[in-house]
């Protein structure tokens, strides 16, 4: 190449002869072909680490603690090496997809409940039925978590954590306004907020993270489920536009509280999920809907100015009596193409199963460290767990929320993410008064039906 180049350029007048030209042309033709070839090599490469190292990837929640756990694991299993890579949580799903598409996926990885079915269908993951210890784990965890980690009758995940959403409130602000108990109904919530507002404590007592994002808006699902509502029936048909769905009523409440009583912060639209935590800890809002484990941080004096003041209540409902909320599950899965299946399984069993003493070591670790909800029924009776629980949350509420929580059934649909995006868009329109609750429900129904037929 360079030789050719030099020869011709040093003698600008020198004509290129026919053979050189042909060679050049064939080189040009060969390039794209070479590309295809290279790509083909990439395709069958699989997710390999030739030296038996387990490639393990997860989103970057407390990666230091994760590494600490993995070091402990490799200490216990000196024959296994683990290469752990934390990935930015906002782009976790996208990046994993890119890696698997390129045949460069991990051997074991974190999986969100709402991508599980898609990734199974895409052929990224393998079922773990029959592998050592899996039955024990599935027998020991809550049924709803077990169901969430299964798809088409097969088990895919070992539990990382589970959690459900509840009403987060700042008890100090409430008491300043003379409020002693959290609201039971949405109307009561609105009235309490007006009271706080009128007391001059803050302009907008309620805040949500309502900027569009690639991950779900748990608070919205919690509000719908909290009133006993539903967005989809068991056949995954949209029901938000039917009488019993309560979706329109919840949306109407949101709009009312935003534009009539003006207690929901219109700036919610520019708050990303990560930004709601500092806002709550700084006491900028009196209420939000958040995960139970968030109180662990909110009440941690080292991190939060509002430590000790943050409490959790049940999600307020339309009628004030219904109890309900949404839960989610995070899990560890095995890649379909892993060449180190045994080691990888050992790793996720360590992280998501029992240790030698038949104790869910890692699950407890995460609860004790970060308050991440556990899936193991037995942990509720653990003394240390109960002690920790009492430090940041009312154990009764904690248990009750888990009790009434439901997972989103629609995450089994391959079009769930499209739907969630559409839902965020439509709810933003409700929150910015661009559409009516009725129209919003119609739009959501239409979107869901369109997606459904598109994926037929």
């Amino acid at each position: 190449m360079s030789r050719l180049n030099r020869a011709a350029t040093a003698y600008p007048g020198a004509a290129l002869n026919r053979r050189q030209l042909l060679r050049l042309a064939s080189l040009g033709l060969a390039l794209p072909a070479a590309g295809t070839l290279l790509a083909a090599c990439g395709d069958d490469g699989g997710s390999t680490a030739t030296d038996g190292t387990v490639k393990f990837e997860g989103w970057d929640f407390e990666p230091k603690l994760v590494q600490q756990n993995i070091d402990r694991f490799t200490g216990l299993n000196s024959d296994i090496k683990v290469a752990y890579t934390p990935i930015t949580s906002a782009q976790y799903v996208q990046k994993i997809v890119a890696e698997f598409t390129a045949g460069n996926g991990p051997d074991a990885l974190y999986v969100y409940d709402d991508v599980l079915t898609g990734w199974v269908e895409a052929g990224y993951l393998q079922p773990i039925d029959g592998l050592p210890g899996v039955d024990d784990v599935y027998n020991a965890i809550y049924a709803s978590n077990a169901a969430t980690m299964s798809y088409k009758g097969k088990r895919y995940g070992l539990p990382y954590y589970t959690d459900s959403q509840g009403l987060v409130y700042n008890a100090e602000i409430l008491s300043k306004a003379g409020i002693t108990a959290p609201p039971k109904s949405l109307d009561e919530w609105e009235q309490q907020a007006v009271k706080i507002k009128n007391a001059g404590l803050m302009q907008y007592p309620i805040g949500f993270y309502a900027q569009r994002q690639d991950t779900w808006w748990a608070w919205l699902w919690a509000l719908v489920f909290g009133s006993g509502g539903a967005l989809f029936d068991d056949q995954l048909n949209p029901v938000m536009n039917t009488a019993g769905s309560k979706v329109k009523d919840v949306l109407a409440w949101l709009q009312h509280a935003t534009f009539t009583s003006k207690v929901i912060d219109p700036a919610s639209l520019q708050i990303v999920s990560a930004a709601i935590d500092p806002a709550m800890m700084e006491g900028r809002y009196a209420y939000t809907i958040g995960a139970r484990y968030s109180l662990s941080m909110y009440n941690d004096a080292a991190k939060s100015k509002s430590a000790g003041k943050m409490k959790m209540g049940m999600v307020p409902s339309l009628d004030g009596t219904t109890l309900g909320t949404v839960s989610h599950t995070r899990m560890y899965c095995l890649a379909k193409d892993t060449k180190v299946k045994d080691s990888a399984h050992k790793l996720i069993s360590y992280l998501g199963g029992f240790d030698n003493e038949k104790k869910p070591y890692t699950a407890k670790f995460w609860f004790m460290q970060e308050g991440l909800g556990f899936t193991f029924k037995a942990l509720a009776q653990d003394a240390e767990v109960q002690a920790k629980l009492g430090k940041f949350i009312d154990p009764a509420v904690y248990a009750k929320l888990a009790d009434v929580a439901k997972a989103r059934n629609v995450i089994a649909a391959p079009w769930y993410h499209e739907y969630e995006t559409e839902q965020q868009k439509v709810v933003q329109e409700v929150l910015s008064n661009q559409t009516t609750p009725d129209a919003a429900a119609v739009a959501l129904e239409k979107a869901a039906n369109t997606l459904k037929s598109k994926y037929q």
């Binding site: 190449m1 050719l4 180049n5 011709a8 350029t9 600008p12 007048g13 004509a15 290129l16 030209l21 050049l24 080189l27 040009g28 390039l31 794209p32 070479a34 590309g35 295809t36 790509a39 782009q91 799903v93 996208q94 997809v97 890119a98 598409t101 079915t117 898609g118 269908e121 895409a122 052929g123 302009q203 309502a210 900027q211 569009r212 994002q213 690639d214 912060d265 219109p266 700036a267 919610s268 639209l269 520019q270 990303v272 900028r284 391959p414 079009w415 993410h417 499209e418 995006t421 559409e422 965020q424 868009k425 439509v426 933003q428 329109e429 929150l431 910015s432 661009q434 559409t435 994926y455």
Partner: protein, 315 residues
Amino acid sequence: MATTTTTTATRIVAGGKQRGPRQLGDTARAYLLNAPALTVILLLVAYPIGYSFWVSLHRDNLKQPAAKRFIGLGNYTSLIHDDAFLKSLKVSALFVVVVLSLTVVLSLALALLLNESFMGRGVLRSLVLLPWAMPGVVNGLMWRTVFDAKTGALNGFLTSLGVIDSYQAWLSSSTGAFLLTALAQVWNTLPFAVIILLAGLAATPSELYDAAKVDRAGVFQRFRQVTLPWLLHPLLIVLILETMNSFRAFDTIYVLTGGGPGDATDTIALLDVRTVLTYTDFGLGSAYAWVITAITLVVSVGYVSLLYRKGSFEV
């Protein structure tokens, strides 16, 4: 006479024979000089580009590997009924228009200003380059803190000026979010446009201005008759590159609004990234990308033929 003509003719024919390889030599030499760049481009981009076009002719959603098949232009024809696509195309078109006109007006004004002599010109010329150094993601983060509804500089500034009574959630209204996102984008891309235009101005021979002054041309006349013709090529570069950029603007919008509120800032670029990476619909996402490419190309060619007389243009 007659004999001379004949010899001349034969000589020219003979010359022509020699001319053949000589011209080929020029062309061959030019392609040889292009070989390194072309090799890199072809090696690294030709395959991905071809691949993406091929994919765009397929129904190809990673979540439905079984449904994968060749559907020809199916993805493209489906766009006619694709509400999300059509809406985002509209948003993008508006975004491009707003960003482009703001960029052109501001950069032209700034370049003309920097071409004058005044105290502090050097300082201003350095300041112009500042936004260039800012990665789009950081730009988005910066403007997020500026527009923040609780602690933002914009609110503080306007409140202290007495323009507004209380802090506003600027990004919560569709119009506000759209315009402020466009502003953030303009701020980020302004330096490049200014540099290019400033260069064009520097190349304008000053004699022309003097001549125009002598001819009693007014400021605007001078601009139209003297400055603008010299700025045509720089303007073309600015228009084409900024159209490309704003059409594909992702980082800043993604960080600033994520596409909201509603779909007020949900540009085609955001939709495309989401379609490919979140919905894993590679087929449709690739089709979106090719529509973006085609539109950019058509618009670029449009600029070229608009700014140059037909036939004599050169990119």
